[in-house]
Symmetry: C2
Subunit: 404 residues, 2 copies
Amino acid sequence: MMNVAVMGYGTIGSGVVEILEQNKDIIARQTGDTVNVKYILDLREFPGTPIEKKIVHDFSVIEKDPEVSMVIETMGGLNPAYPFVKASLQAGKHVATSNKALVAAYGTELLKIAEENQVNFLFEASVGGGIPIIRPLYTSLAGEQIEEITGILNGTTNYILTKMDKAGETFEEALSKAQELGYAERNPEADVEGHDTCRKIAILTALASGHEVNYEHIYTEGITNITDVDFRYADALGTSVKLFGSSRISDQGVHAFVAPVMIGKDHPLYSVNDVYNGILVKGNMLGTSMFYGSGAGKLPTASAVVADIIEALKNPGHHVKMGWDGNRLNISAMDSVSFRYFVRIKGIAAKRLAEAEAAFGKVEVTELDHMDEFAVMTEVMTEEEYHLRAKKLSGIRQRIRAEI
Amino acid sequence: MMNVAVMGYGTIGSGVVEILEQNKDIIARQTGDTVNVKYILDLREFPGTPIEKKIVHDFSVIEKDPEVSMVIETMGGLNPAYPFVKASLQAGKHVATSNKALVAAYGTELLKIAEENQVNFLFEASVGGGIPIIRPLYTSLAGEQIEEITGILNGTTNYILTKMDKAGETFEEALSKAQELGYAERNPEADVEGHDTCRKIAILTALASGHEVNYEHIYTEGITNITDVDFRYADALGTSVKLFGSSRISDQGVHAFVAPVMIGKDHPLYSVNDVYNGILVKGNMLGTSMFYGSGAGKLPTASAVVADIIEALKNPGHHVKMGWDGNRLNISAMDSVSFRYFVRIKGIAAKRLAEAEAAFGKVEVTELDHMDEFAVMTEVMTEEEYHLRAKKLSGIRQRIRAEI
């Protein structure tokens, strides 16, 4: 029997306790061992509930109990999650966390401490909710040179963009629906400005490259500038717009960015809709793989935490080699990344197309009825080149990167 | 350094040797160890090539060499793969295989021998080519009660069906194109009759349930009866037809089958085309996940074998708990499985719809121009009920199960 402590009895933490109870027979069959939740660290008391007697308010009870061999961190945030997780690893306990902020900020240090103490620091639930992606990267794809990871990694923004695409809603309408349904926070900034996706692609890039990634070096643009008019063009073009977190790794360097990207129907991530996540991985031998599933939600995310508990159960006293080293990856400037560009321009094509072509070169034109504007799709060029060329043209209303 | 022996230097075996060489730095970084191919067992000699000196013709050289700690079986077939693999495990060597026939026929015994000898019998490459699916099932999804696995598991038939769907080809035309391109064997029976898919869904079902599955108990129907006319209706209906291997596991029993199934555009497997494979997994906590990638081909399949080598490298002297026990799963008869049915009927709807409704109850009708027939889509009913009802109606030309 393995004793664990759950820190933070919120949505994910209570989900973990629920799954450990409901699926205990399956877990026992798969691992040959059982899991006992000995402590739950929370500020609240939960009187009259089955967990009442497990509640503790003092982390040192967990830290000092040698019977606790694993700590589950589902508090979120950096403080006190960071000192508690660090102390747990130093006390020789495995840690599983769903906390992407913690992993993105302190992953390198925590992985090192885990290795020094021959325990595991596991974080499957930090990216892609219930989608198995962290573990496949360090097991199934460990022999691959990963050339690209591109993901729809945030369910909130994907829900909003899907509503704008399929139901013709404005950004504001779709956001308030997401808030009503509990998919978006009242302060939605971390999601809609791309910060959540940024931390997730940083973690995936570090895993794929084997080196530390500073998420602050990743160009990050959210979806707040995407409008219902953009989706009317997308509809006419047979495309959609998705918020991508993406990194491309080659001998020439590493590009990484978070931004809305226009894609066509043949893109493997085109049909990832609503709150679902999808992650595309290209390996030098494997070619393209795609992983799809529930990117958020209580039970799917808790299920990923439970998978980490099972990994620790299967490896008693054994440090599983994974993660990245402290040599920080050099992320190339966004200026050097290439895209096609969807550009909306004031005026009518009949009058202004020559100007647009003088600026951008060969373009494909789209016009909608009854609009005082038109749109062009450029050829592939770097961001730097785009900016130089765009300066030559007045009346640009919108620019969306495209991979078509 | 871990010494391995590769048995069978065909497409997959040579791919494994190629990846171990080309990605050796990545493998060393990820595992902290290196792999040396000490022997290659093959009937041929390969004079003047870099592998010339590694070639052996006598398995006992491998079996008796204590330096060889892992054997890679990429010969295919049951004989001599089965006795060689068994002897390797008994000699205390890990085994990785790409051989689905071997795993489906002797998996239970070989898993037991591996456990007794504290080594690993690994077979990621036996299902889904390069798609990580076996390992996620016994790691990431190990805490889930798996309720359904449905996969497009055979690239050859998916290529044929895609050509029939998108290019309007007949089965015969698409098959000969697949043969020209090397996607189909000259004797395509194992693929087009569904036998290959049957072994793969048997392996996945055993892993998901934890119990042995006799693949001969799985109802298996191939794609040889699917015609270009069916796809004309599918086009009119906005659907497609895919060869599914599927199992549904519940307290009421286990259903498993291989058959062509008509699905709509909103099905997660709808956009899995050409030689790609896709596998949908439903867990009781996780909900639906989907795994997509190259289901066949030299390097993707070899990459899955290399992932197994890495797993063994990371677990020296450690048996990883996975697989299934010898309690054979009871697969319910196909008669009790429920579908909707797409049925093509001789005559015109104006004259015969009442008859069709008398037989099947409420149906949706589709008519194509200039045809002496029409099609109906029934409500959901069991196979048994379908057969009873279909007896009441003359002139049924086609019946395809539908999940719409």
